[in-house]
Symmetry: C2
Subunit: 259 residues, 2 copies
């Protein structure tokens, strides 16, 4: 994922593309070999099992996230926090990112059953919460933020953004150009597409107020905006201006799409 990728990077890029195309449950070592133009036997030389390779991939992704976060460590705390929030936003047409995050979500469902995967998930959770906590501590120290429960705020921010992303990626798809286009088709076709937006049972049976169809604007964008306005803004010391979500998105924009 740099100008002169190493063999390991080429393999990780192959895992990324294969996960997007096939998902966690169905991806095979052959799929990964095909995506990175390596032989399956070469992959097996480095990684005994598919699990070994996927755990190595999680490690690679999290290490990449650490590097991205570290690259912004010297920026003002409020800009870092807005960048963290903006990092989670992606648009409804960000097909590759949605497909990748669906595969990651599949991997996450293995957390309770696979200790090596869970170790990586715990590491990722510590990185995310720890980053927000670090930003808040720096900002309290330099007068950007009021005194606040740093750990509680970090857990709140991470849960909120993760929840928005999970909802966006699981509620979207099947429109012929979204994450729902895996190489293998499942039994359900796109023929009844109109029903997916029907306002069926809840409006009739429940007490729920009719709400608009998400993800327009996307779930992540709407919740990220609310996170800035409702969670971040009250943390600011007097006179500190809240950056816009667009500034936050731009701050963490990346040169590739692997996360």
């Amino acid at each position: 994922m740099s100008d002169q990728p190493s063999a390991a990077e080429e393999i990780m890029d192959g895992v990324y593309r294969a996960l997007r195309a096939h998902g966690y449950a169905d991806v095979t070592m052959q799929d990964i070999a095909d995506e990175c133009s390596k032989s399956k036997s070469l992959l097996h030389y480095h990684y005994d099992t598919k699990e070994d390779l996927l755990v190595a991939f999680l490690d690679y992704v999290i290490t990449d996230s650490e590097a991205r976060i570290r690259a912004h460590a010297d920026e003002p705390p409020i800009e870092r926090l807005a960048g963290f929030v903006g990092w989670f936003v992606f648009e409804a047409d960000a097909v590759d990112r949605e497909a990748f995050h669906i595969a990651l979500l599949e991997l996450r469902t293995q957390g309770p059953f696979n200790e090596r995967i869970r170790e990586q998930l715990v590491r990722s959770d510590r990185l995310l919460r720890g980053t927000v906590a670090d930003i808040l501590e720096s900002g309290i120290e330099n007068g950007t933020f009021r005194e606040v429960d740093v750990e509680e705020t970090a857990a709140l921010v991470v849960a909120t953004l993760d929840g928005a992303r999970t909802r966006q990626i699981t509620l979207t798809g099947g429109d012929g150009d979204g994450a729902g286009d895996r190489d293998e088709a499942d039994g359900a076709g796109d023929s009844d597409e109109a029903d997916a937006d029907g306002d069926g049972a809840t409006a009739e049976g429940g007490d729920a107020t009719a709400v608009d169809d998400l993800p327009e604007p996307t779930y992540t964008r709407r919740v990220a905006e609310a996170t800035l306005q409702r969670i971040v803004a009250p943390l600011l010391a007097d006179g500190v201006a809240l950056p816009s979500l667009e500034d936050g998105i731009a701050a963490m924009s990346r040169d590739d799409e692997t996360e």
Copy 2:
């Protein structure tokens, strides 16, 4: 799930138990038949495929949630909102609920690829956001809440609580009495348990501040408390008291564990 369950209820209870024990990907019609003491042929008489049965189960679960929400519709808005928040809290030892929600999360990862599942997920999302929106509108009308962007707040609250739950259930397990005990064991044993709490790479390599190990107190409890204090409290009109999280949990406590 009542005193005299119908055959359909018995089957749905069997799906619930079979999903907990085997997960979405691996559960079979035979597993479900075994759990509800029906024959597999009887199940196939009512449901052609496993997908049909799982879609019917999602419909059943969401309809049950609608009924639970409706049962509280006449209560004061602030109590309803605290109850909604408390509904998402479960403790680290709530093994059955965690196992069930892991299976639901697996089902949710099929949203982009399976239109019938996605329709149910969209329906559930509308129920949850619509319920919060309805509570807020009632509360604005009767003077409990200030004027607020109802839809944005609803999306924020739902994303936050869902994210906390997803993080809790995926980061927990493998301790021999958690959700990680499915009937079929995977390749990873429990032998290296101590490593799951190791504070490996992030503390060394990143800029992340060391954070405590969740889920103690549980991710859902911590984030639900923060939701009340940071998101709900600022909505309250002058003089309206914020209920405790314990009150909210008690308000929606249920007589079974199916959601």
